[in-house]
């Protein structure tokens, strides 16, 4: 009885803790400027308005930032998926000197914090002429997405049965054929999950985008949001509407991989 009571009280408490901020975002995004400023209808927007969404869409640079975020995240995801799949497969399956060292190196790289690299990386990118454009982000984001996704995929490839590839080799298939016809279909769920992680990491990234890009037309959403704050004046309604629009795609993607992701988390293989 006491255990059951504890569970119910705990469940309600955690539901409140998790959902209140989300509800705050959603409810504020449907209020007029006056409703926010004068604290009328604080908890539920009355009247309910789409004003923030239409203003955000037609009178700010938000659509452009959204496009930049999509372009960056898609390119970073493609690069990451190719590089990490190749490397993950090699470390999991191939025999070569220094294999163990490689596995450790990838793990160490995935733990190197961006806060350590942003200043020298800025100089390197400036010398390449890549700052102030999305190229800076497409080049720099793989520094954290690739080690992370490689680490995930090593574990994933290791868990696949080795016999299937060996059977393909015995049947006279080349390595390339064995990889694309036999292993790739089996590995698809893991590769898709790692691609979604790469997309999410890139979608939410802030520090590099803030440092490497000054041009307002080349910004991504997380940095652009801060431009909706004019000095001390916060366009809270628009900010919250932008937050809703930005969060929904990630939530949708995440519903696909939730189960797999929880297993990955449980193995301690995901940053938190």
């Amino acid at each position: 009885m006491t255990v059951r009571a504890f569970t119910i009280i705990g469940l309600v408490a955690f539901l409140l803790i998790v959902l209140v901020p989300f509800w705050w975002i959603a409810s504020m995004s449907f209020k007029t400027y006056e409703q926010v400023q004068f604290a009328t209808s604080i908890y539920v927007p009355r009247p309910f308005t789409w004003e923030n969404y239409t203003v955000l869409w037609s009178a700010t640079r938000f659509p452009l930032w959204l496009r930049n975020s999509v372009v960056t995240a898609v390119l970073v995801t493609l690069i990451t998926t190719v590089v990490a799949s190749l490397a993950g497969y090699a470390v999991a399956r191939l025999r070569f000197p220094g294999r163990e060292l490689f596995a450790s190196l990838i793990l160490v790289l995935y733990l190197v914090p961006p806060a350590l690299l942003f200043i020298p990386l800025y100089r390197v990118l400036a010398e390449l002429g890549a700052t102030n454009s999305l190229a800076a982000l497409v080049l720099s984001y793989p520094t954290f997405t690739v080690p992370f996704c490689t680490w995930l995929l090593i574990g994933f490839f290791k868990a696949l049965p080795r016999e299937l590839e060996e059977a393909a080799f015995v049947d006279g298939a080349t390595r390339a054929a064995a990889l694309t016809r036999v292993l790739l279909p089996l590995a698809a769920p893991g590769i898709v999950a790692s691609a979604i992680f790469a997309f999410t990491l890139s979608w939410n990234e802030f520090l590099y985008a803030l440092v490497f890009i000054q041009d307002e037309t080349a910004l991504t959403v997380p940095v652009g949001l801060n431009l909706l704050i004019y000095g001390d004046v916060f366009s809270w309604g628009q900010l919250m509407a932008a937050s809703v629009i930005t969060t929904l795609p990630v939530v949708a993607l995440y519903m696909f991989i939730h189960r797999w992701m929880v297993e990955g988390l449980a193995a301690g293989s995901v940053k938190g």
Partner: protein, 292 residues
């Protein structure tokens, strides 16, 4: 010596990763070390100054405060994450229906952009416009007469950034501990009950020892991320009021990009390297052993 037959393929498969690692991680890192030994100001050529940046910071009152703030921020949010993570795991472990649904729902903060989280919590703590969430609730409950500007005091601002950082990460702890609890064999609990152990004693002597591994991994991983946090502090307080919430990453940014002193800015983050090396070595040992 003959190399194993896969060596050629491995070189091909690993070369994209190697190019990335050398060009965009290792090389910038060596540049960071070099920069920290110069007086590089934006717009001027750098001059070698030896360890002068390090000496300057060791003597700098603001930097001392940054170290203290970072420790308070990291320790405070880690303690909260571990405690609420354990509570969340115990609650979910007791849920008899829809456990996966609740687990997924509770993970939502963890996939949401930290910038959005920081903006939202900043407003929830704010006193105006239109009173934030906490002021609204406290006023409506009759516990307050006038709104309090939580974020305007040093302690309030620190509490606010800790709460936002905690809220983002505690679901990760909860889900990890839940998985750890489910891996503990039932027989251990049964045996403890036979020996007359109560609920608390079973938790203390069966659950906690069974979670030792996952406790260490989550704490060290989160320590690495929290001690380097930039987003939450930058968006919520810009390190203020004054320097009350200035942490390593935000101070490094402030010195490098607002004061334009790159050499000194880089040196601030290099002070964390030894700590990172120890933490990464510790957590890698656990994670690599898991993969065996």
């Amino acid at each position: 010596m003959r190399l194993p037959r896969d060596t050629g393929a491995a070189v091909v498969f690993l070369s994209p990763l190697l190019i990335l690692v050398v060009g965009l991680i290792a090389y910038p890192f060596t540049r960071a070390i070099w920069l920290s030994l110069t007086d590089k100001l934006v717009g001027y050529p750098e001059r070698f100054v030896g360890l002068r940046n390090y000496a300057y910071l060791l003597d700098d009152d603001t930097f001392h405060e940054v170290v203290k703030n970072t420790l308070v921020f990291t320790a405070g949010s880690l303690v909260l994450k571990v405690l609420t993570g354990l509570a969340m795991a115990l609650v979910l472990n007791g849920v008899w229906r829809w456990r996966n649904f609740f687990r997924g729902l509770f993970l939502l903060p963890w996939i949401t952009s930290t910038v959005i989280i920081a903006l939202t919590w900043r407003w929830m703590f704010d006193a105006f416009p239109g009173r934030g969430f906490f002021n609204s609730v406290l006023l409506d409950a009759g516990l307050l007469r006038r709104p309090i500007a939580f974020m305007a005091t040093p302690a309030g601002a620190m509490a606010a950034v800790i709460v936002a950082n905690w809220w983002r990460a505690f679901p990760f702890f909860g889900v990890s501990y839940l998985a750890g609890m489910q891996a503990i064999p039932r027989e251990l609990y049964d045996a403890a009950s036979v020996d007359g152990a109560g609920t608390w004693q079973r938790f203390r002597h069966v659950t906690l020892p069974g979670l030792k591994h996952v406790l260490i991994v989550t704490i060290v991983l989160s320590f690495i991320l929290t001690i380097n946090d930039f987003n939450i502090v930058y968006v919520m307080t810009r390190g203020g009021p004054g320097t009350a919430t200035q942490v390593f990453a935000t101070y490094s940014y402030e010195v490098a990009f607002n004061q334009l002193r790159w050499g000194r800015g880089v040196t601030i983050s290099i002070f964390l390297v030894p700590v990172m090396v120890v933490a990464i070595a510790l957590v890698s040992r656990y994670l690599l052993r898991e993969r065996e």
